[in-house]
């Protein structure tokens, strides 16, 4: 079975940022994403998802490596200073390259 390389970009950040983040995705040309509620602990304290107003979200995007770099660069420049946000990337294999 033929497989194609793509990049999985995972962002964990404040739920309050969701709408802004999706606007950034649109502007940068991200075509698809998955968002889940998340909770955990980090440099800016503990976040619980029981209260949506201060929970975290985990956003996953599978795309071309160049697009993943652009998204990461934009988020770092715009949000790293003021918001709780981490971001990491992994190489993944997909079966339908036209989808990502």
């Amino acid at each position: 079975m033929e497989q194609f390389n793509r990049r999985l970009l995972t962002i964990i950040t404040e739920a309050a940022l969701e709408r802004e983040l999706l606007a950034e995705f649109d502007a940068l040309g991200v075509r698809g994403y998955t968002i889940t509620d998340a909770r955990g602990r980090g440099g800016r304290g503990t976040r619980k998802s029981s209260w949506a107003h201060e929970g975290n979200i985990r956003v996953e995007v599978v795309c071309e490596p160049s697009l993943a770099e652009r998204v990461a660069g934009r988020l770092r420049e715009r949000y790293y200073d003021d918001y709780a946000m981490i971001l990491f990337m992994q190489d993944v294999s997909v079966l339908r390259p036209d989808k990502f």
């Binding site: 029981s50 209260w51 107003h53 200073d81 003021d82 918001y83």
Partner: protein
Amino acid sequence: MAAMDPVVLFFMLGIGAGVARSDLRLPGAIYDFVSTVLLLAIGLKGGVELARDTGGMSLTEFAGLIGLGLALPLPVFAVARYVGRLSRADAASLAAHYGSVSVGTFAVVIGYLASRGIDYESRAPVWVVLLEVPAILVGILLARGLSGEVAWRSLARELFLGRSIVLLVGGLAIGWASGPDGTASIQPFFFGLFKGILALFLLEMGLIAASHLPTLRQHGLFIIAFGVGMPLAAAVTGAMLGRLLGLSPGGMAVLATLAASASYIAAPAAIRTAVPEANPALSLTASLAVTFPFNIIVGIPLYERLAAYLHG
């Protein structure tokens, strides 16, 4: 002394369970459901009463309330900035939180007045709607200045279409359109169960307030003194405005409570995106862990007596 209102005891149970690190935890969906029912019930009740009497709101009252919403953040900002020596962004964030209102606190005060048989103006839910937004706008202006970069369009959308305003205004409209007879079939759910739903809401709020107590220590005495002093001063202002507007003693108590209350949903969400450099934990901790409990447990009975006293 009269027995304590059970809903307040539910709040204390939540705080106690949270402090003791009990595994008690209500799912987020329950909080959403319970707060939705409360907002709709408050709106419906106001709408039904408005349909019953035609006594609308005068232009003076409208202007007085908008003026209160615009003015309240200014002394809050000054105290936070020059007494508390906070950064401009943090002081502006506190100004937005304390100038705006808490619907949860409103729900408790109307429950309190109802259980004591004290009447208040049926249009009170409209006051909540009028007082929620102006202070948040003033807070953002205090942080950013007039020329600052703020995405006003998306901010306005977030503020005016926020769920509390949509549900309150929606409830008011439905209650007003259907009237007392039309809403008879849904009254057992929204009105009959109001206190029970409020009890559940306050249980959850107690847990949330307790989860913010540890951050209190990082912010020191100022935030505690601020979280208690500000509502007291604002309550006096609110009660006096109520007197000037010719409200009933119950209405004055409601307005005093609204002025004393601090937002913990609309303001944090708007400030987080419009003034990102403000520390969100500072304002939220003051509002949720100090002012909300203070108003629920001590403030409301006090404001009711203050209103009765000022009314003469």
